[in-house]
């Protein structure tokens, strides 16, 4: 069969063209239209979300303005609300999670790509990836029944004895605390960071490793000097992915953080996060102002997430200028 292009068929009466060619022009256009609609759907939904958050929080914005971000009050009876402890709690618990999860995940990823025996690599990666499949509520229940008693009786007193000179580790130990939330978040984001970091490390060409080894580096030195710098931007991307998950995590956090609208210096003190307060108070919020304040908190969470992600993109771009893998992919 000849595969003459439609251009070569100009002048041929339409009725004589094979069906596949008459349909081709329409089919292409419809296909393109559908794809464009699908692509536009996401920004449209996002715009709708922002619009709803904006209109819902207008009452609270009119009442509190930007002072909402700096205020620590939360009094539904008197109608005074402020998001500062919530923002603090969200950022601090996510930071603790990163501090714990990143070295661990990176260590596991490096181990799996560089040092583990071949037979072990796939199963271990699979099992760690399975951590991501566990629902947040189940993590929360595990946190309440298993993790918090263990922390309260073992880990926290040890930290207080060893590091009690720091204000971070002083004060009474209840169990539910900022540190407990950070730990459970660390466990939850580890599979994400580890999977992406592992992919990125696998993508580093072997020539890098071989070159380092050929120059006399030990296995560890080869990883640190040749592999990691090459994969820098990808690893930063993995960390940002984990951070994004940690910022928005709701159920597991609200079950172990103690739910207290307070900024405390101690990590053993209870705290609160933006997502947790919405999960807790939204369904029973009766007054319009309370409702609107919670929507304002949701809007603030959205803004914080966007800012963090934008900052992360910037960081990746800066880090990527000079390394190979991952910069194009991200």
């Amino acid at each position: 069969m000849t595969t003459a292009t439609p251009a070569a068929r100009i002048g041929v009466p339409r009725a004589r063209l094979p069906l596949s060619l008459t349909g081709a022009a329409y089919g292409d256009r419809i296909f393109r239209l559908l794809l464009t609609l699908a692509a536009l759907l996401i920004p449209a939904l996002l715009a709708l979300l922002v619009y709803e958050l904006w209109t819902g929080s207008r009452l609270a914005m009119a009442r509190f303005g930007l002072g909402f971000i700096g205020s620590s009050a939360w009094d539904p009876v008197a109608g005074r609300f402020g998001a500062l402890p919530l923002i603090f709690g969200t950022l601090v618990s996510s930071l603790i999670a990163l501090l714990i999860a990143v070295p661990l995940s990176l260590g596991v990823a490096i181990y799996l790509t560089e040092f583990a025996p071949r037979a072990v690599r796939q199963p271990v990666a699979f099992v760690i990836g399975l951590l991501a499949a566990i629902p947040s509520v189940v993590y929360g229940l595990w946190g309440i029944f298993v993790m918090i008693p263990a922390l309260r009786s073992g880990v926290f007193p040890f930290l207080r004895r060893a590091l009690g000179f720091l204000p971070l580790f002083q004060g009474p130990i209840y169990g539910p605390s900022m540190l407990a939330a950070g730990i459970i978040l660390a466990i939850m984001i580890m599979p994400y960071i580890m999977s992406v970091a592992r992919e990125v490390l696998l993508a580093v060409p072997n020539s890098q490793r071989e070159a380092a080894l050929a120059l006399g580096a030990t296995r560890w030195e080869a990883v640190v000097t040749a592999v990691l710098p090459y994969a820098r931007s990808g690893i930063v991307g993995a960390v940002i992915l984990g951070l994004g998950r940690a910022l928005g995590e709701t159920m597991a956090v609200t079950m172990v953080i103690g739910n207290r609208h307070e900024i405390a210096a101690s990590l053993f003190a209870p705290g609160y996060t933006m997502a947790a307060v919405i999960a807790n108070e939204f369904s029973e919020a009766v007054t319009d102002l309370h409702f609107s304040a919670l929507t304002y908190v949701a809007f603030t969470l959205f803004v914080v997430t966007v800012l963090v992600n934008a900052g992360a993109r910037l960081l990746i771009w800066r880090v990527a200028r000079g390394s190979g893998v991952g910069s194009r992919a991200l």
């Binding site: 309260r152 999960a279 009766v286």
Partner: protein, 362 residues
């Protein structure tokens, strides 16, 4: 390996499904019975506290009459909001509507009590053994205000002579989510402590001076169970079914009353209700020597002038059925205190006055 992973995921999904159960009514209350007469449905939404008994009632009523009633336990705040917006046929709430909210519906609302709930103080003091802790209103307020911080404070020792109260911090646990339980408890504290009324107030959600927040009755229960020296407030039913120790509270007559179905019904019986009452009555701190001081009605909200008469007739049929002894006994089986006889009569009369039409099915 895959089997184990599959099993784990299935287990996780099952726990997730049961943990999410707060939004759906259990049981076949929403499904049509084969061959039912008409099968017209009513919808309601609101309080989570009475959800178990409402589910049981709607299920039994559907079996008996074929009328399906759908109930979503989204919380008292949601119930009031849906009722005001008219998206449901009836609402349910643990805290009565405020005057402002009643203005929003231009007075077109009737509060009908259905069962009684009680808030008990649960604690974790293993050394106390089987002896019940005794508390009274002002002491409770002082504890929750953060003024009394240790278990062996003289005020507590005076209430519990001879009891081995430890020299340890009182770890206060309250609700982090908005709740009718909180409303009942803070209503009581506001009555017995002017300082509480002034600085904190009564509401489903408020600014607690001290304490950890637990999500739901379950969250508070777990915190108290696991933290030695903890003191928290939960619904009576949770304390009973989880076999938690709970305190006796001193009532207005000076007697230390153990929370039970009888003492809660006595609280309602002892509260004066005149014939023209709108039932938005607080039962906390009532007179009567057998009355438990921290109890409350839970209400259904219905329209005085319903838009749909056919639905109103069905609703009236259910309400009258609910006031009968068999239904009230079902409540007692589930540890909800049934309404005292006098209140039942008042409600029946009020329904007859406001909705003069005949109920369906007759």
């Amino acid at each position: 390996m895959v089997n184990r992973a599959g099993q784990r995921i299935a287990l996780a999904l099952a726990i997730l499904a049961s943990a999410c159960g707060g939004g759906r009514p259990e049981g076949p209350a929403g499904r049509a019975r084969a061959g039912s007469a008409g099968g017209a449905a009513l919808t309601g939404a609101g309080a989570t506290f009475p959800n178990p008994i409402y589910t049981r009632w709607f299920d039994a009523y559907a079996k008996q009459t074929g009328v399906r009633i759908n109930y979503q336990s989204i919380g008292s705040g949601g119930g009031i909001r849906q009722f005001v917006e008219g998206t449901v046929d009836f609402g349910a709430t643990d805290g009565p509507m405020s005057d402002e909210q009643i203005r929003q519906v231009r007075g077109d609302v009737l509060h009908l009590p259905t069962v009684l709930g009680a808030v008990v103080l649960t604690y974790n003091l293993p050394r106390l053994g089987p002896t019940r802790l005794r508390l009274d209103g002002p002491t409770l307020a002082a504890i929750f205000l953060g003024q009394i911080t240790r278990w062996n404070h003289p005020a507590l020792a005076a209430l519990n002579p001879g009891a081995p109260l430890p020299d340890a911090d009182i770890i206060v646990v309250h609700r982090s989510d908005g709740s009718g339980t909180t409303y009942i408890f803070t209503d009581y504290l506001s009555k017995v402590s002017p300082e509480w009324a002034r600085s904190v107030g009564r509401s489903t959600s408020l600014q607690w001076p001290i304490g950890l927040g637990g999500k739901g009755n379950e969250g508070v229960t777990q915190q108290v169970k696991q933290t030695e020296g903890a003191l928290g407030y939960v619904e009576l039913i949770y304390a009973v079914s989880n076999r938690l120790p709970y305190a006796e509270v001193k009532n207005r007559s000076g007697a230390f009353v153990e929370p039970s179905l009888a003492s809660v019904t006595a609280a309602a019986a002892g509260t004066p209700l005149d014939a023209a009452t709108d039932f938005r009555v607080s039962l906390t701190d009532p007179p009567g020597k057998d009355a438990y001081p921290i109890a409350s009605f839970t209400w259904l909200l219905v329209r005085r002038t319903p838009a749909d008469t056919a639905k109103a007739r069905l609703l009236k049929g259910f309400l009258l059925w609910m006031l009968e002894p068999p239904a009230q006994r079902m409540a007692a089986d589930l540890q909800y205190a049934p309404l005292p006889v006098r209140v039942v009569e008042l409600i029946r009369t009020r329904i007859g006055e406001v909705w003069p039409f005949a109920p369906a099915p007759s």
